[in-house]
């Protein structure tokens, strides 16, 4: 690949990693607080999976930029200010209740599976290889979410109301997920990454079926969030200040 394409792919991978890392951080906030012990372990596992995916994408970016594979992921995670992050707003929103958390994760995981299906046949072999590994884990994530959705949506009056409220709250943020990722256009042209806009129909079909099975309805009237990934909000700043505090206070810290 030429250096221009390298830079585009590094940008693209960093955005993917940012989505995963911020979601991992948000979901890890449940550690010790999930509804039952088993789910606490399960959910922390899912968060750790996303953390691993973030590391994978950042390491690939490091190689493309001739950075140190071992240190670059930490640099990206701990030493960038909010303005330099490229995650979607959906993952930055405060964790809310259990309904909100599960639904957000499901929206994200369904899209991730679709994207990975495309990335598995990427023209850049290291990316295709990594995608195949991550794909298996994401299949499990989707199964986990699919199991919970109808149990809450059709559970009690309260669980249904909470799911419906979460859906109404999250829905406007789904639009931003289908905007092109940073660096995407030349990668699509080169057969390295799937076009994000092209994943929307598959996502919607899966989500529509899942919502119907859970007796939930997407709102008809809403104002979609379509600001670019370069415009972050105070939600991300709060999250970063906690996540980065130790590394910034003591850059030599080891654990």
């Amino acid at each position: 690949m030429d250096s221009k394409l390298n830079a585009s792919l590094a940008e693209y991978l960093t955005a993917l990693g940012d989505d995963e890392l911020v979601l991992a951080q948000r979901d890890a906030e449940w550690c010790g607080h999930a509804p039952i012990l088993e789910e606490d372990i399960a959910f922390a596992n899912l968060a750790v999976d996303e953390l691993g995916h973030a590391r994978t994408w950042y390491e690939l970016a490091a190689e493309l930029l001739s950075e140190d594979r071992g240190r670059f992921p930490d640099h990206l995670a701990y030493f960038r200010d909010a303005a330099e992050w490229r995650c979607v707003q959906l993952v930055t929103l405060p964790r809310g209740d259990w309904a909100f958390t599960l639904l957000r994760r499901y929206f994200f995981d369904v899209l991730e599976v679709l994207r990975l299906e495309g990335l598995k046949s990427s023209g850049y072999a290291p990316l295709a290889e990594a995608a195949a590994k991550i794909y298996n884990e994401e299949l499990y994530h989707v199964r986990h979410g699919k199991a919970w959705l109808p149990r809450l949506g059709r559970g009690t009056e309260e669980s249904h109301a909470r799911m419906q409220a979460a859906l109404t709250q999250l829905w406007p943020y789904t639009a931003q997920m289908f905007l092109p990722l940073p660096g995407e256009a030349p990668l699509v042209a080169a057969g390295i990454a799937p076009e994000t806009a092209g994943l929307e129909a598959g996502w919607w079909a899966a989500i529509e079926a899942a919502l119907a099975a859970a007796d939930l309805r997407a709102p008809e009237k809403f104002i979609p969030v379509t600001r670019p990934r370069s415009q972050q909000t105070e939600h991300l700043m709060g999250l970063l200040s906690e996540m980065q505090m130790l590394a910034r206070a003591n850059p030599q810290a080891r654990w």
Partner: protein, 174 residues
């Protein structure tokens, strides 16, 4: 109840118990709580109330076995698990066809005579949810690559011992 098979051809062994509202969630919880070793091949779950159990002590005088009535209902398949050693986990012995739990237990005891069993369990195959071979990659592949999910990855006991030794050595100097 959660059962795990670590490799193809090996018997399933009893891992432990998870709470879950239904059997599908139990399988998922079983995966997240118990699949930690470098490999896993299959996972089964069955509701605790479906397990019929007898211990060596309960069977010792032969009275329970003698009292089992032949039942006239339709036969179904039952999984048979047994505890081969006093400390070990229960492991899979095989299957029997029977019309009731009592009858399945009696058949199991008469069939699997090669070991001295400490505890017997029988439960209906129809009440068991098993992972499917095509699901194995999604359910278990992480256990091969995610060292950090294996408790052996965290040498906590060794680390604590080192810290304690250091402290003691420091104390002597003081």
């Amino acid at each position: 109840m959660v059962f795990q098979q670590l490799a193809s051809g090996e018997p399933l062994v009893h891992n432990g118990t998870v709470h879950a509202p239904d059997i599908e969630m139990a399988l998922l919880n079983g995966r997240d709580v118990f699949v930690r070793r470098p490999t896993a091949h299959a996972l089964w779950v069955t509701p605790v109330e479906c397990i019929f159990t007898r211990t060596r002590e309960e069977l010792a005088d032969g009275r329970w076995l003698a009292g089992v009535q032949a039942s006239s209902g339709a036969a179904e398949a039952w999984h048979v698990f047994g505890k081969l050693t006093q400390q070990g986990q229960l492991e899979q012995l095989g299957q029997v066809q029977a019309a009731s739990a009592e009858e399945a237990m009696k058949l199991a005891i008469e069939t699997y005579t090669q070991h001295e069993i400490w505890v017997w369990w029988v439960f209906p195959v129809a009440q068991t949810l098993s992972s499917q071979p095509e699901e194995a990659a999604a359910l278990f592949s992480f256990s091969e690559t995610h060292d950090f999910k294996n408790q052996a990855y965290y040498p906590v006991i060794t680390l604590m011992r080192e810290i304690r030794n250091k402290k003691q050595a420091g104390g002597k100097r003081g």
